[in-house]
Amino acid sequence: MTVADRLADVGPAIEARGSRRLGRRTVQLAIALVLYAVSVTVLVRS
């Protein structure tokens, strides 16, 4: 297998991994912001 063939295999895998990571970061940010707002509210109310 040539280097080009190997890169052709590896490229999409890396891209998919990058997309999954971006998805996880986005979900994590959304959860964090809601939790942050809840925590601020709870602290203000207490």
Partner: protein, 170 residues
């Protein structure tokens, strides 16, 4: 919360509204990012906007709770609030979309000084609450508890929730 004590103290000294002072302090803190080489991101903007929009509806929900709260319920809310705040801080900094203005001060100082997150965060909160109190802001036991404990909560959680950097990330 400590930064609110500072806003309150500055507002009392200057006669400006609480909201105006909060925004002004955010601007000053963001200016402090420049020497710390911090860069704002989507998370920085989202932090300000989303939390601003969500707090009022959540406050309306919590208004359903009895008033005044029993001491045990008040303590429970403080513990819950501080714990959730530490978790949320670690989650959104860990997502690496950019920290909020005040958290960026922490991450910038950690990066520049090499000190631990816990030490830097606690130092910032204690200085801020002390300055706010000296300026006439109201600090209670919950504020003091937050200032002293939040760093110890964020410090161990941040590495757990930090998404690793990837070369193929877009």
């Amino acid at each position: 919360m400590p930064w609110d004590v500072l806003s309150q103290g500055v507002a009392r000294r200057t006669g400006l509204s609480f909201g105006t002072v909060t925004l002004a302090i955010s601007a000053v803190v963001l200016a402090a990012w420049v020497p710390l080489r911090q860069r704002p991101g989507a998370g920085t903007v989202a932090n300000v906007l989303v939390i601003g929009f969500l707090v009022d509806p959540f406050l309306a929900l919590l208004a359903l709770l009895p008033d005044p709260l029993t001491p045990l319920a008040a303590v429970g809310l403080v513990v819950l609030g501080i714990g959730l705040n530490g978790l949320a801080t670690a989650l959104y900094i860990g997502a690496r979309f950019g920290p909020g203005p005040r958290d960026g001060l922490m991450t910038g100082l950690v990066a520049r000084t090499g000190r631990s997150t816990g030490l830097v965060r606690t130092s910032i909160e204690v200085v801020v609450v002390a300055a706010g109190w000296l300026l006439g802001g109201t600090a209670g036991l919950a504020t003091l508890a937050y200032a002293l404990v939040i760093g110890a909560i964020v410090h161990p959680l941040l590495p757990r929730f930090t998404v690793s950097e990837g070369t193929a990330e877009r």
